[in-house]
């Protein structure tokens, strides 16, 4: 009477071969109903991101190929003019100005990432070496500055770099800068301010991999009379490389697009991609050109991510 018949034709739900009835986490449902539920739950946020991020992103991409009218309005023509201009060809012939800005941005972001990692490593080792109750306190100490406003932190550096403060006076006494000038605006001030801003992004992802470190490998290396560097290279580095990679991604991304710090500490001549974009969308009102710079910035970010992701896979 019941041999071999499908039990669920009686389940009150229709079971078909494309839409079988399943039990998910103890809940009787069908594949389709379960999928619809996940989609519905996620739909609010996903739609939001589609409408306010993906769609505008596509508009930016489209804008990059448009051109600016005489009064700053957008003319929906299609052309590579903006990119050509970014590569240096302007109405007055070729100049390296924009390329220098791009190179400077990359160089600065790279330098800041490396400096932040170099500072973050000892901090993370130091924290991981403390008794447990201290570790959380110290990690909180790293997190707090990260939660404070970047404009205010940068302002702190403006104060510290001002010509009336001891650091500038000391530098002047050493003869590095002229008497009466401050340390800011300068590339040096921007670098310090940016390293300071991104340092927590380096410590926080690095810390877990250092806390989990298997020290027996390090001891084994030591037992084999490996030098300090070789011990680090072969016993420690492979273990912390996932942390190092996420730390470098998380520091590189904010550095490449940063414009608050360079705006306040770099002065008018020290332009980065971020400032250039801001200028186009603000004062110059050249949105298509600004959009083209955005496209280049995004492409550089993606290349950076891809490179680090590849290095990451190799390291693992």
């Amino acid at each position: 009477m019941i041999d071999g018949h499908a039990p669920l034709s009686r389940a009150g739900k229709k079971s078909t071969s494309e839409n079988p009835i399943i039990i998910q986490a103890g809940h009787l449902t069908t594949t389709r109903a379960a999928t619809v539920k996940s989609l519905l739950l996620a739909s609010g946020a996903l739609l939001w991101l589609l409408v306010f991020l993906v769609l505008p992103g596509l508009i930016v991409a489209a804008l990059a190929f448009a051109s600016r009218g005489d009064y700053g309005q957008v003319l929906w023509t299609f052309g590579w003019d903006n990119f050509v201009r970014l590569a240096g060809w302007g109405i007055f012939g070729w100049s390296a100005d924009y390329l220098i800005i791009i190179a400077r941005s990359l160089l600065l972001a790279g330098t800041c990432t490396i400096l932040a990692l170099l500072l973050a490593l000892p901090v993370a080792f130091f924290i991981a070496n403390q008794p447990i109750r201290w570790r959380y306190l110290l990690l909180a100490l790293v997190t707090i500055p990260f939660c404070t406003n970047l404009v205010i932190r940068t302002y702190g550096w403006i104060l510290l770099c001002s010509n009336q403060m001891p650091p500038a006076k000391f530098a002047a006494w050493l003869g590095w800068i002229d008497d009466g000038t401050g340390l800011a605006p300068s590339a040096f001030a921007v670098t310090i301010g940016m390293v300071n801003a991104i340092l927590p992004f380096a410590v926080l992802p690095l810390y877990p991999s250092i806390e989990r470190l298997d020290w027996s490998l390090v001891e084994a290396a030591r037992d084999n009379y490996a030098s300090r560097w070789r011990t680090f290279r072969h016993a420690i580095l492979p273990q912390i490389s996932p942390g190092l990679i996420s730390a470098s991604i998380l520091t590189f991304i904010p550095s490449i697009g940063m414009f608050v710090v360079s705006d306040l500490l770099g002065g008018a001549k020290y332009m980065l991609l971020g400032n250039l974009i801001q200028q186009q969308f603000g004062a110059s009102r050249d949105w298509p050109f600004g959009a083209a710079i955005c496209v280049v910035l995004i492409i550089m970010t993606l290349i950076g991510l891809w490179l680090m992701g590849r290095r990451g896979r190799e390291a693992l």
Binding site: A25, S38, F52, L55, L63, L119, A120, N149, A291
Partner: protein
């Protein structure tokens, strides 16, 4: 386990932590210095703080504008955090469920997008949106939209990370012990993710408070926020009133962070 450490490690550790706090300290110290000049200590004073709350002729920070900016900042943070926490939590629960295979990768990409995109690009995107759709002209409404856009993924990722630590067997055990579908959510899932939701909301809140770039591109003169106000004042020159205002904001942020950390701290028994 505590290992013997080289003497330079604590030194470097503390020095770097000091480096993190140096700018904050500089602002706080200058804010109570009884002098408009930097670099010389003229004794302790509260006068710069007092000046924030009254309109004086030579005051560099306009107190009416300050009140408006404070209201805008907090209003913006509260509203955007509220929306992004709800959307982000739902997204995290949705990601835990069943997905058609071909959709998984693109959906994860969209979720990661706000995290990996430099915020200047998010801001440019909001500007571009207003170019084609005048509803999103500068102002409070557009600022909320912009803030939620970058907050929502952070909330979702924090909550999702916690959710993925809850085994499916726990849900099944709850069902096996006669819990209804709703009961599983209320008695098993939510209690285990509340701290993550609070942490996500708090992250969203600080992200909003800290944001300068997106607000800069989407604010109208009436919807200026504190970071914008400070930046505008700094461009006009440094002044003790800005030190005082900045210090107040610093302390408010630290109090907020400590408060929430205290609320969400792991219980000693756990």
């Amino acid at each position: 386990m505590i290992r013997r450490q080289h003497w330079s490690l604590p030194l470097l550790g503390w020095a770097t932590l000091g480096f993190l706090y140096l700018p904050l300290l500089a602002v706080a110290v200058c804010s109570v210095n009884d002098s408009r000049l930097l670099g010389e200590w003229h004794g302790f004073t509260w006068q710069w703080y007092e000046r924030l709350f009254v309109d004086l002729k030579d005051n560099r920070v306009d107190s009416t504008a300050l009140f408006a900016a404070t209201r805008n900042t907090i209003g913006l943070a509260v509203i955007s955090t509220f929306i992004s926490t709800i959307l982000g939590t739902m997204l995290a629960f949705g990601l835990r469920g069943r997905w058609p295979k071909p959709l998984t990768a693109p959906v994860m990409a969209v979720v990661m997008l706000p995290v990996i995109t430099p915020d200047i690009i998010l801001a440019a995107a909001m500007v571009a949106l207003r170019q084609v759709w005048s509803l999103f002209d500068t102002g409070f409404f557009t600022m909320v939209i912009g803030h939620v856009t970058f907050q929502v993924s952070f909330v979702a990722l924090v909550v999702h990370a916690r959710l993925s630590h809850i085994s499916a067997a726990q849900e099944e055990a709850a069902r096996d012990l006669y819990a209804s579908h709703w009961g599983v959510i209320m008695r098993v899932m939510l209690p285990q993710v509340t701290t993550a939701i609070v942490a996500g909301a708090m992250l969203a809140f600080t992200l909003s408070l800290d944001d300068f770039v997106i607000s800069f591109f989407t604010a109208s003169p009436q919807s200026t926020t504190l970071p914008l106000l400070i930046q505008a004042s700094i461009r006009r020159g440094i002044s003790p009133e800005i030190h005082a205002l900045s210090t107040l904001i610093l302390f408010a942020t630290v109090a907020l962070v400590l408060g929430v950390t205290h609320l969400t701290r792991p219980r000693p028994t756990e």
